[in-house]
């Protein structure tokens, strides 16, 4: 079977309210041959405004905390509605933000301070539409008090907790006694099941209320 020819270039946008961060990463990711960083902006609105209708964007790398007071869930939703996949970047200090992102269906959550190799790998995968499993993401999900709502199978739980403990795919595979490709399958399933968590009929209202309850305040400008 022939694989479909890869696009020669994935169009990627960076959304971060700290200019030096956005630029720094833009420079880094531009070193990848198949990645083209087409925009560095500080908010989702700015990005969506700047896109021409029908213009294709493969991936948005989204900082989980932005200064415009927007909420993670709504940011991710808006991007995905526009047909853009989302890879979340985080400083790694707030598990709840990561959960919100995961529930909205990001491809993964990656810590900004990861090594270059890890970052490049993550962006490459995400640009191609593959989920990215990271320790932070797994720990955030594993620590979610509402995780039971996702209905994960015992195997899926095991894989998730191994990732959460810090293992990578090879170690996870060997501990769980399965092949690496199976591990990746499980991750895909965990990811899509987790989108179900906390999503009753009034999804957005609930998340909003939850965010308010939890005191997640929008980041003010200063």
């Amino acid at each position: 079977m022939e694989m479909e020819t890869r696009m020669s270039c994935y169009r990627v946008a960076l959304i971060d309210d700290h200019e030096i961060v956005a630029r720094g990463f833009a420079d880094l990711f531009s070193t990848l041959p198949e990645i083209e960083v087409v925009a560095t902006v500080d908010s989702v609105s700015a990005l969506l405004d700047s896109l021409a209708p029908g213009e294709r964007l493969d991936l948005a790398i989204l900082d989980l905390r932005l200064a415009d007071g927007s909420m993670v869930a709504s940011n991710v939703d808006r991007l995905r509605e526009r047909g853009i996949d989302v890879l979340a970047f985080t400083g790694g200090d707030d598990a709840q933000l990561m959960r919100f992102a995961a529930r909205s269906g990001v491809l993964g959550v990656v810590r900004k301070s990861e090594s270059t190799a890890v970052l490049l790998d993550a962006v490459t995968r995400a640009a191609a539409g593959e989920p990215v499993a990271s320790t932070e993401w797994a720990a955030a999900l594993d620590g979610d008090p509402d995780l039971a709502d996702a209905g994960l199978s015992p195997r899926e739980r095991q894989v998730l907790s191994l990732y959460a403990a810090g293992a990578k795919a090879p170690l996870v595979a060997s501990r769980a006694g399965i092949a690496e490709s199976t591990v990746i399958d499980y991750i895909r399933r965990v990811r899509s099941k987790y989108e179900r968590v906390g999503r009753p009929a009034n999804t957005k209202i609930d998340l909003y209320k939850r965010a308010l309850e939890d005191g997640i305040l929008p980041v003010p400008g200063y």
Binding site: H18, S43, G69, G143, A165, G166, A167, L217, Y222
Partner: protein, 790 residues
């Protein structure tokens, strides 16, 4: 950071200890509002009753003077009445100690009077003034004493004074069965005094309990408010500070950005840290002060601006932070309007500021009729100034901001602050407090009182009776009144159900009617009218059961009946009144007390909610400040000096030897020079350790801190995650064991990565450690602290 000692020393993270320390003792200051209020009400009622009874016994007192020292009786009478009256007068203002002393003195004077009389008094009293005036008085000083001292002393006194009174009565009566009289008097007095003293003590007890409940509730509210404030503050600081600091350090460390950009960012970050620094004084600002400041600000920016104040109910005072945020935000709004509203418009723009104050908080509306803008179209961040306005208000607890605008219709910005919401607080209901005292009288005590009631009145009725009256009717009368007593003391809701009330009153009427057949005016029996006292007691209990109106109607009927009876039997109406009037005293005293309590209950409610509100505000402010201070301290201690250095970077820093700040023009590529290597490494290390302290929480202790630092310097990737529950002591064992294990592993690693994670509670294991270097290993730590390799 400790410069690594050889032994692995473990220290617990200080931050959460401080945060979880009990809220300051504001809420736990001893509050005795209810007890104080009850006492004062009592004293007032006692004072009035004392004067009343004084008037009642005045006549008898004049007739019962002591010949060798004719001034003695009036003197004692004056002293007693004076003390009681002063109690009533001073009830509102005097300190409690003073009131207590007066009350106790009155009790002692009463005792002394009776004793004196016993000792030096001689002879019998004339039949028409046969009751020693001192014993008529007995009830009031006893109640005064009961209000002032504890229950044991109160009861001892009551027993003593009634016994002595009985003795005195026996001693002085001109009746032919003195012992019987004494006994009857003693028993009846004790019944009456006992009921009063019992009710007073029970009310005091309920007041004490209410104070305790209120105190506990207030403490709980304050603690909860403190917790919420701490959490909010933590999230707020996280959002602002960590993000900023971490990204500055990371970008400086990664070396992908120019020194200039890093310096700029670092400077913004340190400015932010400075602006968040906790201020010492945070006294609240009154609504009036706020108005003044707003007016000043507005006038300074826009001299002609319209400033309107709408005032509702008294506005609460506003925390300083909120007030300052409000004033700043209003200033921004006005400036913004001055800049943009007039654009493209021919005519002048009219602007206004409206300040609304009410119990629900304050809000300021800055409006203009300028060009406006389509708020939906303009992306939020491009509102710029509007954004920081909104942010400023949202940073403050209870603050909010909304922006409304439409093209051609001007702009309206609403900035408001409201005090924390009390509605979810459990306000221990004191609505039913009015005479909760009776509820605290145990069934056993009630039964005892009933027994005493029946016994006393039986004794009064049959101990010595006029044989002319039909016995059977007298028995019926005693039964009827006893039944009434049982009815009014039955466990029932407040107020006593109307049906029960009417039934009791009917029984009293029966009793009175039956007794009409017994008593003739020439009957010399001292207790022939025993039913009057009995009925009065019943009415008194009705008053206690919040049927004051009914009780007084009953009394009025009784009065009327006695007058009728007197007239029918050839006496004057005055004689009829005479017989019943002394009982009025009892009823008045009881009614006064109940009414007084009812009024104080409403005040107590207000006092309580005010105090609770204040406790919550104080707890919120204190907790916020403490939390912010400790978070900032942590960030500052770890990262500040580094940030300052980054902020001070100039282009020249990049390459040693280039010291001219304005060196741009020389070599364009200099601008892009990254930060020096050693500095970069330090930035990365500090970023990581700061992240550890946030995400790794309790793992951020020695020996981990040092081991991680050293390992990272060697190139090891270290990740610490704490997903466990907050602050339970049982965690300590696990935490210590895990951190020792982490440090051990790290010391051995030359590269690779280590991830340690404390699991959420409820898992079979406490923590996991994954080591990936030359080999791949996984360790688990259980709650007891033993480390296993999987």
């Amino acid at each position: 950071m400790n410069s690594g000692e050889s032994a692995l020393t473990v220290t617990t993270a200080p931050t959460d200890v401080a945060a979880s320390a009990a809220t300051p003792s504001i809420a736990s200051v001893t509050s005795t509002e209810a007890s104080d209020s009850v006492a004062r009400t009592l004293y007032l009622a006692i004072g009035i009753s004392g004067v009343m009874f004084g008037a009642l016994v005045y006549g008898a007192m004049r007739l019962q003077s002591y010949p060798p020292m004719p001034w003695l009786s009036p003197a004692l009478w004056t002293l007693l009445v004076g003390l009681l009256a002063s109690l009533g007068i001073l009830a509102r203002w005097a300190p409690h100690r003073v009131l207590r002393i007066i009350a106790v003195t009155a009790g002692l004077v009463q005792l002394a009077t009776i004793l004196l009389w016993l000792v030096i008094g001689e002879g019998r009293l004339p039949a028409d003034a046969g009751i020693p005036w001192a014993t008529t008085f007995t009830g009031v000083p006893a109640v005064a004493l009961a209000a002032a001292v504890n229950s044991r002393v109160a009861w001892a006194y009551a027993i003593l004074v009634c016994s002595l009174g009985a003795l005195l009565r026996a001693d002085t009566t001109s009746y032919h069965h003195p012992i019987l009289i004494g006994l009857q008097d003693g028993l009846y007095s004790f019944l009456l005094v006992g009921v009063f003293v019992g009710l007073v003590l029970a009310t005091k007890e309920s007041a004490v309990r209410r104070d305790e409940t209120m105190r506990a509730a207030r403490r709980e509210s304050a603690e909860r408010a403190g917790r919420l404030a701490r959490r909010r503050e933590r999230l707020l600081i996280n959002a602002l500070v960590h993000d900023s600091v971490l990204s500055t350090l990371l970008m400086a460390g990664l070396g992908r950005t120019s020194a200039d950009a890093v310096a700029l960012h670092a400077r913004r970050t340190t400015n932010l840290l400075n602006s968040l620094a906790v201020r010492e004084s945070s006294t609240p600002i009154t609504a009036g002060e706020l108005e003044t400041r707003l007016r000043e600000t507005a006038v300074k920016l826009q001299p002609g601006i319209d400033f309107v104040v709408h005032e509702g109910e008294p506005a609460p005072s506003i925390p300083r932070e909120a007030a300052e945020a409000l004033v700043d935000a209003v200033a921004e709004a006005v400036r913004n309007s001055a800049l943009h509203a007039g654009r493209g418009r021919g005519g002048a723009v009219s602007r206004s500021i409206a300040l609304e104050r009410s119990a629900a908080g304050v809000s300021v509306i800055v409006a203009d009729d300028g060009v406006g803008f389509n708020a939906a179209e303009v992306p939020a961040q491009r509102l710029g100034i509007a954004q920081s306005m909104v942010g400023r208000m949202q940073r403050v607890a209870g603050g909010s901001a909304t922006v409304w605008s439409a093209p051609g219709h001007g702009t309206k910005i609403t900035l408001s602050w409201s005090p924390p919401d009390l509605s979810q607080d459990s306000r221990a209901p004191i609505a039913g407090y009015s005479f909760a005292g009776i509820r605290l009288v145990t069934r056993r005590a009630v039964r005892g009182a009933l027994l005493l009631f029946v016994a006393a009145h039986a004794l009064l009725a049959f101990g010595d009776r006029d044989p002319r009256g039909p016995l059977v009717l007298e028995i019926a009368a005693v039964l009827a009144v006893s039944a009434a007593a049982v009815l009014v003391t039955s466990p029932a809701p407040y107020p006593l159900p109307r049906r029960t009330t009417v039934q009791a009153l009917a029984l009293c009427a029966v009793t009175a009617t039956l007794q009409l057949f017994q008593v003739t005016p020439d009957s010399a029996l001292p207790f022939a009218q025993w039913h009057l006292g009995a009925i009065t007691l019943i009415l008194l209990v009705l008053v206690a059961q919040r049927r004051i109106g009914w009780a007084w109607i009953g009394y009025a009927v009784l009065l009327g009946a006695m007058i009728g009876w007197a007239v029918a039997n050839g006496l004057t109406p005055g004689d009829g009144v005479d017989m019943v009037i002394r009982h009025a005293g009892t009823l008045v005293a009881g009614s006064l007390f109940v009414l007084g309590l009812r009024r104080s209950a409403a005040t107590l409610e207000t006092i309580n909610s005010e105090r609770t509100q204040r406790a919550i505000e104080e707890a919120t402010t204190a907790a916020s400040l403490r939390e912010r201070a400790s978070e900032l301290a942590r960030v500052n201690s770890r990262a500040r000096s580094l940030l300052d250095r980054l902020a001070g970077l100039r282009v020249g820093e990049a390459r040693p030897g280039e010291s001219e700040p304005g060196a741009h023009a020389q070599a364009p590529s200099d601008d892009l020079k990254p930060v020096r290597t050693a500095l970069r490494a330090e930035c990365l290390l500090v970023e990581a350790s700061l992240r550890d302290s946030i995400r790794g929480r309790s793992l951020s202790i020695e020996p981990v801190i040092t081991a991680a630092h050293r390992a990272r310097a060697r190139g090891v990737d270290v990740t610490l995650i704490d997903d466990g529950d907050d602050g339970s002591d049982a965690r300590n064992i696990g935490v210590v064991a895990t951190s020792v294990a982490i440090a051990n592993e790290l010391e051995r690693m030359q590269g690779g990565r280590l991830t340690a994670r404390i699991l959420p509670s409820g898992r079979p294991e406490f923590a996991t450690i994954v080591v990936e270097s030359t080999e791949q290993r996984m360790l688990t730590v259980d709650a007891a602290g033993s480390v296993r390799e999987l």
